[in-house]
Assembly symmetry: D2
Homo-oligomer: 356 residues x 4
């Protein structure tokens, strides 16, 4: 790749198309407590309590629930030129708008990237109040910032190669002994990831993750969902990830878009930060406590839009599926590698996942 | 009932028979951090960090994993006489030992109670150091006291009637519209329970529960089990109970005995403390977040011993089973009562429990 | 004492006279998040989130900030007769109102007790919703229940003797080698106290304490006070008590009434619960971390009213003052008893309290 | 400045000279739980649980307690050449050792910087196990990484200019209306700081800070110090900073070196990250809850060594002192700016700081 990539700072916001704006507003604002920067009849711009840029999430009403943009902030205005050249060089469709694609953001480049995802890059952005000190506005489940995206794509190694050309660096991945890669986590900022690539039928959006300060904040979101009789929006968790070592919770929004609430991964900013590779059969990779991953978490994801606003066609994964190799008749997961036999006490009767 | 019952203060300790004392010691002492009061080749006496009586748990090695005693402390030495008379009046087998049945405890009455459980009552007990202030000994998952027992019995209303004659009071229960009672929680001390009665084949011991101060203490136990590659000892949770409103985790010890770690229920000490009745079909009764209960939690339990140390025969429950009426083809659970139809977004694909 | 005392369950509510009801409502409702059961132009009835009786705090507007009642709930209606007889027998002024002294409460006895405090006893009370499960209403600093009162009185041993005749039991106290008692903690319910007696000019009310579930709840109250630029309402803490082992924070309400927020003491319900006696010179007795007690905490307190609503005259303490014997020229506090000399590193320069 | 600065990644470790190695080992290892990477009779290399480089703290025994190095990791080996040239260009004394100055570290440049501090730069470093997942080794006060340094220097604006030439960026500072700068926080990694400059007699080391995940971890360190009767090592806190919004605790090690335990500041990685300027008279700048800063925190600091190991002479600050302008007869602090008068309730009697 001779064209230099733009200098990406961090994942900055996602633009979600939702089918009922009031219902989504209830979920993101009234329940989760994201801060409204501004809103009108068609669009709501939301941010975390510690954010100083205009938004971390855009909800835009539309006919089909989908993702319109995975947006990254770049270091300098000149990086927009680099982004334009980089993706043009890759033969991608590229659209640049000096006035931005949504409120609060200036000069922007949107592309249909080589994997079929709508990526956006921008630098100019309106500053708003960082509400970090406004504890009078904090809720028990206070969300402080956007943490990462997670994308579904059929060919993870190809996706990693592409993101590495954009100067992302792998921090962790899931593989097997046969050389199949099931997922990879890649970062620009100094956390475990700005985005992850999950193997599956794609391009689709697996989830968008927001951070809290402490674990009890995440638990309080579950408690509140129970109180509101919305506990069925909890898809998976709360739990501790093996990958990333973070504490997590997965929710499904009213359109089925998956949201993660996430806290406490680790510093990754050194160039020789050690990559952690997990065996796909290690039952603690996805949940450190061995709690089974629910099937919907593997199978469901949101469609993404092209630059005309039409859903991108989904291509099936041809490599092995993580769900199939780890659970069910053809798969297996272990708690202790190299253990010849089952432990004496009745392993396998305790956890639901072993019975699927 | 003309014979007055003893004045029970609280559940005080459980005596567990374990089949490999070293293996159980590793679990309870090295992993969970219970404090050893004293130990020899056959028996270990353990307590929580805030306890001042000799022990809350006795591990005694034996050929068959079982429960030898559910032991309650009574207010005064004279209550031993009352206990003896009370159970003799019920036609139960009663054994009294002035020197106690185990170290640290004096004058004690053990009975085979009307439900077949080995209940013990004592007042005299050796005092030991309350380690509440000894933070140099506390671990991340610090267990501070015994909280409650949970027993499996076929006929819950009969069990409630018996415990009420012992001056226990119901705080919460699970019923259905047809008048079946599936479980009941009863207290002497001012928490939600000293013991609970769970409907099922019995007499068996469902679990014994220990308390921590905060929720993060419980999460840290899960994290440690993961680090030790013992995550398969986690059976259910962590989560928030509907019943009791407490935060919980269920583990299985090396013999399969079920241990709960529990924190933050509520004050129940007033005589008119409101009883909370839960509908058996309410999907948030057992887990406020709607996380499915794993089948083993309903089916597995520990046998209990008679006063000769022989396992009590188990009698099958004839009433409806909570598991069957709530999950599977013949059961149902709701998140929102009186909801005519499934919500528009794809409920039922997210949570594993819906798929059993 | 031949007259049997009433069977007291617990401290139940305090009636505070405040001089500006709107200002106090802002503090207790908007800032601290206590739940309004009902209110009118002169009175606000408040409770914690886990309470099922009508109120735990009454704010009544009046000309002079004061305490109108320390109110305890008794076990049965008949205990009101016992209370009436008990205090009549002591020669105290007693007033009984079948309709209660405030909303939500029925038959009540109010007395000017032997120490000059307005004590109330009641059993009949309106039940309201226990909001324990209503996590949609919980705030980061969620207050769940009333925990205890703290009273200032000149002669602590006399006060202890009186409360013991009311069947309170001492759990902890502060003494010196000369036999002076500086403070004592006494309980009816199974916590460290329902009330404490602090030596000083009295009768006065030192503080009323409310409980949260976890320590971070208390920290979040501080954070919110900072955000509202009300940090000067924080008088002392947050910190860890030596006495009670609880985590604490002291606030001053708009009238200067002192409020404690408190969490995590220990079970005290056994009749032989060990009494913990602290040396008045132990610098960790009041704060386990050795943080100095601010002088106002020792000197300030609220006046209490007689049954005519007039302030009770304050009698000076003649025994040694805890403040004087522990700080300043005539006092001393140690971190390590029996340490001959100061440690090599520069103790005494670090903590402000050493410099007063 | 024509010579380009090295590309600094982050503060990496501090080398402390201690006078009694066993006593310091007890403090840092047994009490605080830092992980020993390796040790011998003269030196101990320590790290946090999430660190993958050889150490974050070196304790070296010596005759005078002092700081031998503030060490930063640079992005690439070539940055060592840049560091050498940069400081040579500034006329500083520079020493380069290919084999490093201590175990685990390779090619290093140490300088006596323009402010008199011993700064070190390195890239090559031995990797060790990142113990993030080793929860079996975590303690209640688990320290996960080094967070920042804090340096005392007489002329803060000059120090800021120098650090900006090294490509540090200011995130927050404390000033007054007359244009005096009292302190500044500067970062390379994406947190509030890698080092801060505190105005005072210097060059001296104010503190070195380590991070935990949650606030309760910090509280547990205080609890443990109390249990060990070492509470007098707590100098200030725990509390919430205004500057940085982090939760903090200051300890003094056995030689009087100041250690901060710190958690939860915010992301600062964008080039236009908003600078927060605090008024020196704002009483919430140093502690958001208004808790007074103890005088020793302003006055005490550790001497630093030159490259020969001799203490650098200390130059007095000539600008106004933060302590003097904020407390005492000549200073003032406000909770609410522009408040004409004291509030009606008795402000000024509650907090100790107001009485100095």
């Amino acid at each position: 790749m001779s064209t230099p990539p733009p200098d990406i700072l961090r994942c900055a916001y996602m633009e979600l198309v939702v089918t009922d704006l009031a219902r989504s507003r209830h979920f993101y604002v009234d329940v989760l407590g994201l801060v409204v920067t501004e809103e009108d009849d068609t669009t709501i711009h939301l941010r975390g309590l510690e954010e100083f840029i205009h938004h971390n999430l855009v909800l835009r009403v539309g006919p089909v629930a989908a993702v319109a943009a995975f947006s990254y902030r770049v270091r300098a205005p000149e990086d927009l030129d680099k982004a334009e050249a980089f993706f043009t060089g890759l033969g991608c469709r590229v659209e640049r708008r000096k006035e931005g694609f949504t409120k609060g953001v200036g000069d922007s480049v949107r592309v249909e990237d080589p994997l079929g995802f709508p990526y956006e890059f921008f630098h100019d952005v309106e500053h708003v109040e960082r509400l970090a000190w406004r504890y009078d506005l904090h809720t028990p489940g206070a969300i402080v910032r956007l943490d990462h995206f997670n994308q579904v794509t059929p060919d993870v190694p190809r996706a990693v190669e592409y993101l590495e050309s954009l100067a992302f660096r792998v921090t962790e991945d899931i593989k097997d002994d046969e050389g199949t890669t099931y997922a990879a986590w890649l970062r620009r900022k100094s956390t475990v990831h700005d985005t992850a690539m999950t193997g599956g039928d794609g391009p689709r959006m697996h989830h968008v993750a927001f951070a809290t300060h402490e674990k009890h904040n995440i638990l309080s979101i579950c408690d509140k969902l129970g109180a509101l009789r919305m506990s069925d929006r909890i898809e998976r968790g709360p739990g501790r990830h093996g990958v990333s070592n973070a504490f997590y919770l997965y929710l499904r929004d009213p359109d089925g878009h998956r949201i993660e609430i996430y806290t406490q991964d680790y510093y990754t900013g050194d160039p020789d930060n050690p990559v952690v590779t997990w065996d796909v059969h290690d039952n603690q990779r996805r949940d450190w406590w061995g709690t089974p991953v629910v099937p919907s978490w593997y199978t469901d994801a949101s469609v993404v839009l092209d630059l005309d606003g039409k859903p991108q066609p989904v291509v099936a994964r041809t490599d092995s599926s993580e769900m199939e190799v780890t659970i069910g008749a053809d798969g297996f997961s272990y708690t202790r590698k190299d253990e010849d036999s089952m432990p004496e006490w009745k392993q396998g009767e305790f956890k639901l996942g072993n019975q699927l």
